[in-house]
């Protein structure tokens, strides 16, 4: 294939997530006049906040060609601990700090397993997923924990008319975007993902970089857990389940490569997270057949992976 058509195809594939998002908005907007309202779009953003934060952390990991399957388990362990503490009368702020701390701790454990014990990221984080889920069940005794109303108040609070979860998600996304695009640390992550051997030879501290991305991912999972818990007001044994797949799908849909070295938190990953929630919201609003939901969701995951493979194939060809 000559350079010009390849460039066009590359551009087309790169803009596919935005095009897909536009198609979703147009289709559901035409289908129901209740979809493209300010209230509904705000709600979609609000529903996307937790996923977007977790997916932001996942983007850091994916940029190094790694993966973190433990994010949902991090959310569950943190929520279980926070729930128990809240019921024991501990202050809300302390409960929230513990959730974020659990994220940092499990992120650090993943970093240790991957950088010191040289485990493959998939295996290491799969192990911490199982350990985390088991620990969460042990903490909660697989019983539902209904939290004090202060948690729900946090999830539904507004500042300057904008829901608090959106402020928090915005802050995290902005920080991550600035770190990745404007700091040496961010550039080093891209370099590591593009070619780990070259990065090492160039004198980058690859172990520290790898460790940092898993700690960041764990922390983001902890923050995402706080938002999800504040919106739900209860911890169930399924809390955080399959968040890892939503986060990976959102990041890849937004253009982050599973092969590392390419991707952006904004608009990429954020767009992917909002797209996922828009589809679920749209299906509910148009009263779609309930049996269509899993078909459409799995179709989106397939599309995300297909787009990434196609981008990689075109890039390899060039």
């Amino acid at each position: 294939m000559s350079a010009r058509p390849r460039h066009w195809i590359q551009s087309l594939l790169d803009s596919a997530p935005a095009a897909l998002f536009a198609v979703v908005l147009i289709v559901f907007g035409l289908w129901s006049d209740r979809f493209l309202t300010v209230a509904n779009l705000t709600q979609i953003l609000n529903q996307s906040a937790a996923t977007a934060i977790v997916a932001t952390g996942m983007t850091f990991v994916l940029l190094t060609a790694g993966v973190d399957l433990s994010v949902g388990a991090v959310m569950f362990v943190g929520a279980g601990l926070a729930g128990k503490m809240a019921l024991a009368g501990q202050p809300l702020a302390l409960c929230l700090c513990v959730m974020a701390g659990v994220g940092l701790l499990i992120g650090a454990l993943n970093a240790l397993l991957i950088t010191r014990l040289k485990l493959v990221a998939f295996i290491a984080t799969l192990a911490t997923l199982y350990i985390g889920r088991g620990t969460g069940r042990w903490i909660t005794q697989t019983r539902a924990i209904n939290l004090p109303d202060a948690f729900l108040a946090l999830g539904s609070a507004r500042w300057l008319g904008v829901p608090l979860p959106l402020w928090i998600a915005g802050l995290v996304i902005l920080s991550a975007h600035l770190v990745l695009s404007n700091t040496p640390f961010g550039r080093q992550i891209y370099a590591l993902g593009n070619n780990p051997e070259a990065a090492r030879k160039a004198g980058l501290r690859t172990h520290q970089l790898l460790a940092a991305v898993y700690v960041i991912c764990g922390f983001c999972a902890g923050l995402g857990g706080i938002l999800a818990l504040a919106q739900l007001g209860a911890v169930s044994p399924k809390f955080g389940e399959l968040y890892e797949f939503d986060a990976i799908t959102a990041a890849v849909l937004g253009g982050t490569s599973l092969f590392g070295g390419r991707g952006r938190v904004f608009p990429g990953t954020v767009l992917g997270a909002v797209l996922l929630k828009s589809i679920f919201n749209g299906l509910v609003i148009v009263q779609a057949d309930p049996y269509l939901y899993p078909l459409i969701t799995s179709g989106i995951v397939f599309l995300a992976v297909l787009l990434d493979s196609a981008r990689q194939w075109i890039r390899a060809g060039s």
């Binding site: 350990i131 697989t142 919106q231 209860a234 044994p237 399924k238 609003i285």
Partner: protein, 349 residues
Amino acid sequence: MSQLTRLRSCLPAAVLGLLLLLLGCDRPTGNGTSGANPPGPATSPGQVTTIGVAFESLMTEFWVAAFDKLKADCAARGITMLEAVADGDTARQFDQVKNFLNRGVDGVIIVPKDGKTVIPMIKACNAAGVPVVLYNRPADPTDARHTAVAPDNVAITKETVTYLVSLARKTGRKQKAMILMGDLSDVNAIGRRDGFEAAIQEAGDAVEVVSRVPTDWNQEKALAGLQSSLQAHPDIGLIFASSDFMFPSIKSVLSSLGRWKKHNEPGHVIVGGFDGDATAYQLLADGYVDATGVQDVYWEAEQALQVILDAKAGKAVPARIDDKGFAITQSNLKELEPRMWGAVVAKKK
């Protein structure tokens, strides 16, 4: 790479692999004997010394209550209970059942993930001559011999929703209704959906269903689905959840809209569910929930164990034992509360 270095690099993977394997293994408990002692064969024909109990998951209070009841009943009868939880993995559950059979159990009780994938497990038990009971989730039609002890989801849900509809009628206007469904591959979820639809059909023009949301038994999906439904239809006045564990999602959404009101307050949204768990009991007692379908978890557990005992004793056992259950409502709460397992659990807390 030297042998030592190679060994060092493999060691963590081996340890973690072992850990993962252990997490998936079954473990024995029971009549005070050590879990490490493998059970022997039945001491005499007809006597039950060991049974295997394989749960698909322990993800809700209902399953935990059932599990605890089986454990307590086995201990009371001097039966060793081998436990296994498959965490939703049907292949793992099949392995666990085969493991039970290899260890010479006298009976197997299974909570399957669905009605289809359990059929090979039943056939394996049939081939080993071991009686098998499906707890709470029946199998799809099959010639494999087993007993299913399960709630009549359709009837209990229909009774519950009929009560909710009667409340809707009393408001004097046609109410918009919605259902939060479970996992559509779960026969219980399908039964509850069918019961809901049957009650709605009989309701005539008292209610109009404007939203049917599949939740995969996930609270967060229930939350998002409910938010979206109320966005499209802000005047929804009746919500049915296919399981009580979705009540926190309903509370969260209605609270944020200022519509989480007691049944005797203006603006109350009619809310009903299914299961009869501790949260449902509390919300009924507090007046926020109007009704819930109750399955008798303790009775079902007793029946499941009795079937194994009867089958081993050579008695005929039925293919199906129905838990008739009941709808507990604001009208009969005081009267039926002692029969609601969630009330028992709530009072123990």
